[in-house]
């Protein structure tokens, strides 16, 4: 079986926060304790939508030490493949669902003298858990959080009232911008910076930090890629000797699973490397979207990350 261990849960609360974001609370279906986790961890939520099973990763935002419940916040993406819309429109209090054990690909560097968090939009969620973890151990942290508008600023009130000195909010519609260069220059030695948000923001922070001379290992980022829809394509699975069709609204990984072939995965978001698959033969173009393979590997045509990447062309044969 692939992926992390599973937990059967009951949905115990569904709270719409604003036009786009809804919070879900889960408790263990057997009323037992959930595993503790480390701030920055995510869980993969299984959604049964007719005969389609969607598996989407969401950051855990509740207190990592609270074993009675887990919370996630889901931003509705009407352009996406339907996972977030399913959560928003179909999931109700009392529903039974299956989620994975926590997996952390964005953990705190506990050596840091100070943790500088930069969030964009729904990218706030891992920091909600990390700040709770740090508060317990008197950790030194500061948060800069950019939202589109005041009404879309999820958890702004909670943060500014509990942590007025640590929290700084920026609204796009008021043309407020994080003054990144000055912010980075003003940090004490031993600070680690963490960014979670849209791709453009992550790239901006990483590039600015590099220009400012920050060591690579002091800059942490997490971007969950949702698989993007795309043109259907055909794939031959050499080991299992199957030819499968990847539909417009499913990922290559989902199509492989639908064919009954067990394929490894963890994050399903192009970050963990677990699903890396060898390409045996191809004629066409890869649409690589992962963060795992490097540029040479993307150009090399020998590997693909089926959780997020696609293909356009005549032949694709995979070692799976």
């Amino acid at each position: 079986m692939s992926g992390a261990e599973k937990i059967a849960v009951t949905v115990t609360d569904v709270v719409p926060l604003n036009d786009l974001v809804t919070r879900f609370e889960f408790k263990r279906a057997d009323n037992g304790l959930l595993p503790t986790f480390s701030g920055g961890a995510h869980t993969v939520v299984e959604m049964r939508d007719g005969d389609i099973t969607r598996l989407n990763p969401y950051s855990l935002m509740s207190d990592p030490m609270d074993q009675s419940r887990y919370c996630i916040s889901v931003r509705r993406d009407d352009e996406g493949r339907g996972g977030s819309v399913f959560m928003h429109t179909r999931v109700k209090v009392g529903d039974e669902m299956v989620i994975s054990y926590p997996v952390n690909l964005f953990s705190l560097d506990l050596r840091a003298k100070k943790h500088l968090f930069l969030a964009g939009g729904i990218g706030i969620t891992p920091f909600l858990a990390q700040t709770k973890q740090l508060e317990r151990f008197n950790g030194n942290w500061e948060l800069h959080y950019a939202c589109r508008t005041e009404s879309l600023g999820s958890y702004v009130d909670e943060l500014t009232s509990h942590h007025p000195n640590e929290t700084h909010i920026y609204y796009d519609d008021k043309k407020q911008m994080i003054d990144l260069v000055n912010l980075l220059e003003g940090q004490p030695l031993g600070t680690h910076v963490y960014v979670c948000g849209p791709k453009g923001m992550i790239d901006w922070v990483r590039k600015t930090a590099t220009n400012e001379g920050w060591p690579r290992e002091a800059v942490h980022y997490e971007e969950f890629l949702a698989p993007q829809p795309g043109k259907p394509f055909e794939v031959k699975l050499a080991v299992s000797n199957k030819v499968i069709q990847v539909g417009e609204h499913e990922s290559l990984l989902e199509a492989i699973e639908r064919a009954g072939v067990d394929a490894p995965y963890l994050c399903r978001g192009g970050a963990c490397g677990q699903c890396e698959t060898n390409v045996i033969d191809y004629a066409g173009n890869f649409i690589h979207r992962d963060h795992w393979l490097d540029d040479d590997e993307h150009a090399g045509g020998q590997k693909i990350m089926p959780c997020v990447s696609r293909f356009e062309g005549k032949t694709l044969v995979l070692d799976r």
Binding site: E5, N104, S107, L266
Partner: protein
């Protein structure tokens, strides 16, 4: 089942011994008649009843004496236990993992009572009954990692995970096969494995690291490793090489069956939840050649493995000089019959030695 704990030593008069039960459950590390390094990892989710795989942390007849030996090593050399400042949370994770596992797996020996952060831990074999506040170091006599690993067999490396690598930032290491925590502390996976021959070229460490980085909460893994030790010594450290290295020259054809031990490490890997660190317990099992030879399959196989092992590995494992004498002894237990696959003794089905 209750365990009868041996009163024995791993130094000076070497009164260590294995009962018949301990021999039968010894983790013989060779699943076929030859050996080469490989990424030999599998899930650690129990195993056959009474085998060393059955419980998360195996407790056996050597427990009490091993803990006494550890305390002696630490009294002589406190640097065998080290934890860099950022690893304290991982130490609490480890304490919780061991206390929860042992109290669930051996309820007659260990008890854990939790009321919020107020914990009470009862360790009957060692006569300990301590109350403390979880996550409050001031309420324990040692740091959390040292406290619990003074009560758990085997060495423990606690690895910080960052930058797509593992870092040896904490550990309790008193029963090691010739490597030093004090030397390796702060190193990463490739740095501390640098002395190992052949495995780097085969890409084993790149693949092993990738596997380890992806070990998840609730899904521990395990593997076996092995070497050879003359006399049942737990502490074969570089720090004390001057004491034990010389003992390798005391082997004779007469005493080899009793003195030469196969040393097997059951290595397990657990993700630690609060810190996202990885713990690597290395549990050492010793068995004399003469005890191993009571299992016909193991006698046949050990001869073949030792005979055909590449020189690089025999050198690295430190027995190349004694190999001819070992083979003279072991060949008497190899009648050339085929052996069954797998590590288990198969006493009922494998034929007795033909003489």
């Amino acid at each position: 089942m209750t365990i009868q704990f041996n009163d024995e030593t791993f130094r000076d008069d070497y009164s260590f011994y294995n009962s018949e039960r301990a021999i039968k459950r010894f983790p013989f590390p060779f699943h076929e008649d030859s050996y080469m390094y490989s990424v030999n990892m599998e899930q650690h989710r129990g195993g056959p009843k009474d085998s060393v795989y059955e419980k998360r942390f195996d407790v056996d007849e050597h427990y009490v004496s091993e803990m006494r030996d550890r305390a002696m090593v630490l009294a002589d050399d406190p640097l065998r236990c080290q934890s860099l400042p950022h690893m304290t949370l991982a130490g609490w994770d480890l304490l919780e993992l061991i206390m929860v596992s042992k109290s669930e797996d051996y309820p007659d020996l260990f008890e854990l009572h939790r009321d919020g952060n107020k914990w009470r831990w009862i360790n009957k074999p060692l006569g300990i009954d301590d109350s403390f506040v979880f996550l409050d170091e001031a309420t324990l006599p040692y740091g959390p990692m040292e406290y619990i690993t003074r009560q758990a067999q085997g060495d423990f490396c606690v690895l910080d995970q960052r930058d797509d690598n593992l870092w040896m930032d904490a550990g309790m290491v008193t029963t090691q096969a010739d490597w030093s925590l004090d030397f390796d502390i702060g190193m990463n996976f490739f740095e501390w494995h640098a002395p190992v021959p052949l495995a780097h070229e085969k890409g084993i460490f790149v693949r092993a690291l990738k596997f380890l980085l992806n070990i998840q909460q609730g899904a521990p893994a395990r593997r076996l490793n092995w070497t050879m030790t003359v006399n049942p010594l737990l502490d074969t450290s570089p720090e004390n090489y001057h004491k034990w290295g010389i003992q390798k020259t005391t082997l004779t054809p007469e005493n080899i069956g009793a003195k030469q031990h196969l040393r097997v490490e059951l290595q397990t890997f657990f993700r630690l939840p609060r810190s996202n660190a990885l713990v690597f317990p290395i549990r050492c099992y010793l068995c004399s050649f003469q005890d191993l030879m009571t299992v016909p399959k193991w006698g046949r196989r050990l001869h073949r493995v030792v005979r055909d092992l590449p020189d690089e590995l025999a050198t690295y494992k430190g027995f190349i000089d004694n190999r001819p004498m070992m083979l003279d002894y072991l060949k008497n237990f190899d009648d050339g019959l085929p052996t069954s696959a797998g590590i288990w003794p198969d006493l009922e089905t494998e034929p007795a030695l033909e003489t």
